[in-house]
Symmetry: C2
DNA sequence: TAGATTGTTAATCGATTAACAATC
DNA sequence: TAGATTGTTAATCGATTAACAATC
């Protein structure tokens, strides 16, 4: 096991490993070799062995990997064995989709509270949550240790809401606003719909 | 100007260049140097000059880049000067968010038709579109040249819908299903919410 | 044992950064 | 002209692939 720093490219492959392994697991597959897994995922067997070697030794010469064992190892590596908490800011259309449909628990997260600025929705129930006013956010973050803030607010308030979240001590921000927010040490993970579609546009135009 | 193949990392930086330049443009900034732009975007000046050199020469020694000129150049590079067409498959919650709120035109796309399998919504109006049954999809793709199919269907029908889109000759698929679909030569751009959140989970756990 | 497949080292390939002559 | 900044070449750094001894 090589103890070098885990690079970003490897980190972004971990969820894909997990998805592939989870699929095999659900199909009751017992063992898988690095080349089989590579075929399934569209990467080389070499890369898989190289990646896994950053975290430990999970296989067995001449046999490969036990699917259930490796799946659990990847869960552990990604920190999925410990549930993390989130709050959602912005109960607009996208916010509602996430809170109504996104499988937080499946991904080892819980959604603990939702906030908005619109007096029309504050106090109303959306799904199993009662919408709180953002003025309560600071106090909530004080009383509850929250790991991640989910940003589904309009662009215009993205930075301000980020500042509140950072001040409240969240460790990560899941940002859907298609703007860059500055959050200091706090880790920001972006889902930029527009960037993604523009990339696709480039690729089909050439 | 070096005429080497444009690498994937560079392509994925193009929308970010465009966003930064568009912001400067809206602020009526006239000129920008590679180091200023680099500061703004959080990349090195060297990288910006290196990236741009793949596509041509856009700057002027001792001066930098004209913002309006470079912004237009990036638009052209990304193929934004020609509008591309899309159809949306799956008028569930996420599908509705996209068709009601996503700024297709701003990104040089149009949304031309929406399809679903649910008899309850077929024929109904959603926003400015009348939902069509998927059985009409094939004929629609025959008659209309469609560039991109948007997949906001349940996981279970993701591959089947992909097959129809590929058969119908779309050039790209914007895939929100959090599954890998095989589409042959057709380009697939994924937005995987779960992968993204799991990545964030890893980063805050270490 | 013989065959298969790992984990790891070395070789290759690609991306980023540094440096600088060219020139506005 | 002097200062600033480009576009490009060369140097460095990092990621992927190939190869193979170790061993189940």
């Amino acid at each position: 096991m090589k103890k070098r720093k885990i690079s970003n490219v490897i980190i972004r492959r971990l969820p894909r490993y997990y998805r592939a392994l989870d699929l095999l697991y659900r199909n009751n597959t017992e063992r898988v070799s690095s080349s089989e897994l590579g075929n399934l995922m569209g990467v080389t067997a070499s890369q898989i062995r190289q990646d896994l070697s950053c975290f430990g030794e999970f296989g067995q010469q001449g046999y490969g990997y036990r699917v259930d064992h490796l799946r659990l190892a990847v869960r552990r590596i990604m920190g999925m064995e410990k549930q993390k908490s989130t709050v959602l800011l912005g109960v607009g259309n996208l916010g509602r989709v996430l809170l109504m449909n996104f499988p937080f628990e499946e991904n080892a997260f819980s959604l603990d509270a939702v906030f908005d600025t619109d007096p029309v929705v504050i106090g109303k129930k959306v799904g199993r949550w009662t919408v709180r006013g953002v003025e309560e956010l600071e106090a909530f973050l004080m009383e509850n240790s929250v790991d991640v803030g989910i940003l589904t607010v309009p662009k215009a308030s993205a930075q301000e809401m980020t500042d509140s979240l950072v001040k409240g001590g969240v460790r990560g921000i899941w940002n859907f606003t298609n703007t860059e927010v500055s959050a200091g040490e706090t880790i920001v993970e972006n889902i930029h719909f527009s960037d993604s579609l523009l990339t696709l546009g480039y690729l089909i135009s050439t």
